[in-house]
Symmetry: C2
């Protein structure tokens, strides 16, 4: 309340005022907006990952569980937000923030997002969204076209068809994956004779009706953690997500997959879905989708491709072949808030066959009536914002060739960084970039030599110390705030499948330069030497081993 | 691309430019933003529900499934959006749009939402959200406090505790309800001896381990449709949501509930959750929560309260007693994008006991490590935006007494409208407002008299015609675009539980005036007479009945 300079109060009049559009362009709110914009621009132009401040310190500004009994001025509260929230946020768009799948965004989304917030449409039903519903249906159609490339007549028939949906826009890849497996589960345990289907009767009766001892979803050990979460939510159980070993390039082993399928069937366990990963979260590798499609077809499994990350690569004519076979998927997850460069909250699941989502269709008395074009009858979520609009705008303004350039540049930047790492004797590349992700770690050149001749016990000790050192470097670099890479744990064949802590970078930000990549390595080299325990240990162990040579 | 006046192109340079913050305040993007703001302000100030244009016409602007091969200027595309999207959107914030739970929003959220979009934080983990994580934890704490009102020490202990979470911020009430029932299901079928719990082993094995024949969730027949969807998703099955009859005020019948519980138990069916409705979507009535808490306790059920709509009433000291008993719930759903007046996409589920959510905890190698304060380890969704910020700002700027005034005014406006309906001889109030929702219909005064003396067959015929007429009025009013009320179907005791189509209004918008409410009724009266079939039929039937008197 109280956008002017009088005492902040909760009078009827001031309450009414806050809901009213200000008439004057030079209103107090106009001034506040200008201040926010300037502050945000300054923030976005600052090329650091984050300001160093311990979390415990930040928490002190967010301690009270009381809802204030007296109102604040908008200006006053804005200052609080700028000082205590914005200043202590992460520069996810900084060119040196290369640790997660966030990037700088096209700046035109800032003004355009005003339309989304201001109109506040609810996409669950036409009555509260009108033109936003055809727009979202078109966006789903465009993505369907990108993935499955059907004839124009297909889209004219299905894109705006009441009772059908080519997919669902949702808050993110996790909901998309849950939706895909929900559809797959319901189709695998569909109505049959007197049995009214798992959607109506539930899993327990479905399993008894079909006579299976268990269900299974198969995915490589690099599958995203949301798949296990989906299995938990869907009542299948986390253990039903069967992890298939990967090869040296983090791609699912097809032999293992076939063997596992046979073994499951022999045990009367129904494998109802195979998930191909198109861009693993940790290393950016892509499963052999064509062969997975064959196997899924042969075994009558729903074939889902989790392309939350890699799906955007389809925009690139040059790299599209990496995802060959995706057009045979039954469903595909893709996140627009990843490499389609729109803000957080833009996930999608797309179904090849417009009839597939019937398995999860639902209605209500007051909305989603049969025959309506309400999108809400085929979504896991209920009320939803008009986020699809930002993807629509981006696809029109950037265009496919623009996206291709962004994708190609990011992959080529990753290849450059891989070369940089390989040409530096003190680093070890762990996973080659296939998309714009790669993993590596710092290993002093002498230690690399020592590892080759170490006894098994020495090797074990060295590798443990290297894991500690990698963790140390990653944390230190994050804390120092100049740049940010993430870390994860992999089991590289080179190191006998031993759990190995690695540094992980995602090179999606178009503003990241070669110089920044050089600086990141340089800083890591410097930080390593600051480690009080693992670095001296590694040096001394290395010396012991090499001295004995 | 191409924010300036040169040919739109996809060159490296122009691509780079769109990701860069413009330096000059009078940049092209600055001008575009100004134009959008002016257009939006004009839209928001237009007091109509929607412009009349058939959906098929609107769809013509959204027909192609092709992703453009050439880029558009931002200015050019903005004009497309303003002409084809904004102009054809629903004025959800118009004071005469009283059909759904959308309202005008505080205007200060427009500038503040820039912070959310611009910073593009990802709340799944601290590494991409930093200060936003403590802020969201505080918001969850504030809502917990509003509902459960624990001591300050409780919040100091749990609000920022790693490994704990007082709830989950999510995209909306549906995900909140799914999350609550997910937790309830996992706790009901928790690890036990050698059984590793439903989360790990799935429902089929869980049911065999515990020896139940089925599961059940109990809720009144007015429960939101998302509960059946949740049961489908969770593998329990839609039929496991047992609908309990309601009394004349749309509140769950406790006798029926007790009888049903006994009958379920006698049939070896485990009722694991009882859901109380605090603000039914269709009529705004509140279940007797205190008694439900007793029953849930007695039967060892998880007690969930779906207060997606009514939860905001807790802000009002005057009307808070309507929700007495909610403080005994195990979990509560509340939507901030409803009567807490923030934009779409702000649902929450709050758990009384900070340990409850452990039942759905999950981790991953690259994030959500044990001991981290990452919020993502207890959410159904993965990546999420910083939406909690807008609720935080609203609670600070409006304050609790400000919200109280908004809530009280909306309830009192509903009472005024109910009086208006009752004092008009041609209308029939179907459900009295308890919160700011009510239902009614148009029934000519003579017809009301005729219904009292009609034979059962005549009555049946009249009531059917009235259903048709109500539907006609609602559709016509929506199409004419001046105002909007919604419709639903209820089974009022007064009409022998016959399915009755009713008009439904939600009076949440602070800008809705008494005059608007008068005009809405007036328009409905006029529209009724325009019906070519049902109105003449009603008049003639009425005449026949009254003439025979």
């Amino acid at each position: 309340m109280a956008v002017d300079n009088r005492q902040a109060d909760a009078s009827e009049e001031s309450l009414h005022r806050i809901f009213t559009v200000p008439e004057a362009p030079d209103s107090t709110l106009g001034r506040i907006e200008k201040e926010i914009s300037e502050n945000l621009n300054a923030f976005l132009q600052t090329h650091i990952a984050a300001r160093e401040k311990p979390l415990a310190e930040i928490e002190k500004d967010f301690l009270s569980a009381d809802i204030p009994e007296s109102p604040s001025f908008v200006s006053e509260h804005t200052h609080f937000l700028l000082d205590k929230l914005v200043a202590q946020s992460v520069h996810t768009s900084a060119p040196s923030f290369i640790g997660h799948m966030t990037s700088a965004l096209p700046y035109f989304l800032m003004p355009l997002s005003k339309i989304m917030i201001g109109l506040n449409q609810n996409l669950v039903k036409i009555e509260t969204s009108k033109a936003f519903t055809p727009l979202e249906r078109q966006v789903l159609g465009m993505l369907h076209n990108l993935i499955f490339n059907e004839e124009e007549a297909f889209y004219q028939q299905w894109m705006h068809s009441a009772n059908h949906s080519l997919g669902a826009f949702c808050s993110g890849g996790t909901v998309a994956n849950i939706t895909a497996l929900w559809v797959a589960r319901n189709n695998a345990l569909k109505p049959d004779g007197e049995f009214r289907g798992v959607a109506q009767e539930g899993l327990f009766r479905a399993m008894k009706h079909y006579g299976y001892d268990d269900l299974a979803v198969l995915v490589s050990e690099r599958g995203h953690y949301s798949l296990k979460k989906a299995a938990d939510v869907l009542g299948i159980g986390r253990e039903s997500v069967v992890s298939i070993k990967t090869d040296d390039n983090n791609r699912v082993c097809l032999d293992e997959l076939n063997k596992t399928l046979d073994s499951l069937k022999a045990r009367n366990i129904k494998p109802f879905a195979i998930v191909g990963v198109a861009g693993t979260t940790e290393t950016g590798n892509i499963d052999p989708l064509e062969q997975l499609a064959d196997i899924a077809e042969q075994h009558g499994c729903h074939f889902h491709v989790d392309a939350a990350w890699g799906g955007a690569t389809l925009m690139s004519n040059k790299y599209r072949p990496l995802l060959k076979g995706i057009e045979r998927a039954d469903s595909v997850t893709i996140d627009a808030h990843k490499q389609l460069y729109v803000p957080m909250g833009a996930g999608m699941v797309i179904f090849k066959n417009p009839a597939l989502m019937t398995a999860i269709e639902h209605h209500a008395e007051y909305i989603l009536r049969k025959g309506s074009k309400d999108l809400g009858s085929h979504t896991l979520e209920g009320s939803r914002s008009g986020m699809a609009m930002l993807l629509f705008a981006s696809m029109n303004i950037i265009s496919r060739p623009g996206y291709e350039m962004l994708i190609n540049n990011s992959i080529e930047k990753a290849k450059y960084f891989a070369q940089l790492i390989e040409s530096n004797p003190d680093f070890e590349l762990i996973s080659e970039p296939e998309l714009c992700l790669l993993t590596y770690r710092y290993v002093p050149e002498a230690t690399q030599r020592a590892l080759k001749i170490a006894t098994p016990a020495q090797k074990e000790e060295l590798l443990d110390a290297l894991n500690d050192l990698t963790k140390f470097i990653q944390k230190k670099q994050r804390e120092s705030g100049k740049s940010f890479v993430s870390r994860t744990r992999l089991t590289p064949a080179k190191w006998g499948r031993k759990i190995t802590t690695v540094l992980r970078v995602v090179l999606a930000n178009p503003l990241t330069t070669d110089k920044i990549l050089n600086d990141v390595l340089c800083e890591q080299q410097t930080l390593a030497a600051e480690s009080e325990f693992s670095f001296p240990k590694i040096i001394s162990l290395t010396k012991t081993i090499l001295d004995k040579q």
